[in-house]
Symmetry: C2
Subunit: 216 residues, 2 copies
DNA sequence: ACAGAACCGTACCGTACGGTACGATACGAG
DNA sequence: CTCGTATCGTACCGTACGGTACGGTTCTGT
């Protein structure tokens, strides 16, 4: 198992971008070795030399895409309620934006389609490379809010998953299924606002009262 | 050209069950016409005669499976807070049970994998045949609770989607991706309880006077 | 009993894909 | 200039699948 690092050459990166383009365009069926070689002006032999086999190519595509979407980390500035709320709304917006993006949807469809195959690591790879960054960012954000006394929770993961559910609801699966009229980026802002509002109802700390529960 | 009716003969139903079995077992790649014919002891010619082509077979599988999972409708009995809460918890449990089932996951993976193809109606079919029943049941339940004054909301769909998000969170996609350790039916009860609890925090009506106690 | 329909099992066809091999071309090192 | 390396374009191979055709068999209606 060669660890998929991101030490691809510029040429290889260009080929991987072409591969992502083909995948977005026509799904897994459109991503053939011959088709990619033709679209990227490279030889099939090079593809197999660089990525081993087709599965290696798919894994490389995931790694490459994940390397492009680096999760920006917010410096720990002073948090008041307003700033914290803004950060939560920004996170929610970014999450919806990412999950609803063409490449994300295409890669998730690919990994889900392969999930039934026995030796497929694509799903784990996608979670590991894509979701972990998001989870880290959200976890740090929630922890900062809790330490400032703006929210309270017993289990951070549980609180995060609830937040995630409030934001995404069933949108992700419906977008993956290709349901018409579900992808509406113009509504993301309102969805994010409402999710944060509800999250504060569930986990927010009232200014007047002091909940002695779970305070460290 | 059997349109999505459920007037399949018993023989055809048996074949469709075998097809679902193959799909669950080995994913889309394992569901070949030759393989199905061999597994179901029928001829490929019959398959094409009954279902038209492979896409027709897939559509028939979805229709067949949906016809098996009829959404039971609760008679409108007298609702007090306790009964209403129980119904919500039951719904949440059933939802997790259904989404986490082998056949549901396999069919969703299939539809998602085909979602990129142009003329694919599988995703819409799956939503139409599978989700609509669930949505109806939940909608009626929420409406009954609202009319009894147990919950309050402005938009029923929004309240339902929030409830859905609280229940499912990101479990569905992670199960679809085949992440190890996510499918844990033994945890569904606790998840359902917590989701209902949070739902009542968001949409519940403070009951100062408990009038529902005098009637059984 | 008999005809016709439905069905089974198998063989067959065309195609498309993953993967390999090979000659041709560009380019840097000595 | 020459050698070695990396790459390209193309041709090739084996396989597997979707779909069709056909002879033989079972079932059904009269």
């Amino acid at each position: 198992m060669p660890e998929m690092q991101d030490d691809f050459t510029p040429r290889q990166r260009a080929v991987l971008d072409k591969a992502l383009g083909l995948l977005v365009e026509g799904g897994e069926r459109a991503l053939t070795t011959a088709g990619l070689a033709r679209a990227a002006n490279c030889s099939k032999e090079s593809l197999y030399k660089w990525f081993g086999d087709r599965d290696g190519l798919l894994a490389a595509m995931i790694a490459h895409q994940a390397s492009k979407v680096r999760a920006r980390i917010d410096g720990s500035e002073k948090l008041d309620h307003g700033r914290f709320r803004t950060h939560l709304v920004d996170f929610a917006n970014d999450l919806l934006q990412v999950l609803g993006g063409d490449v994300s949807l295409a890669l998730n469809r690919l990994a889900i389609g392969q999930a039934s195959r026995e030796g497929s690591r694509l799903g784990a790879l996608l979670i590991e490379r894509g979701r972990h960054g998001i989870d880290k960012r959200a976890g740090a954000l929630l922890e900062a809010g809790r330490q400032r006394g703006l929210i309270a929770y017993g289990d951070r993961d549980a609180a995060y998953h609830t937040f995630y559910g409030l934001i995404v609801r069933d949108l992700h699966v419906r977008m993956l299924l290709g349901e018409a009229g579900v992808r509406r980026p113009e509504n993301y802002a309102a969805l994010a606002e409402e999710a944060v509002e509800q999250f504060f109802v569930l986990f927010g700390v009232r200014k007047e009262e002091t909940t002695g529960r779970d305070r460290v």
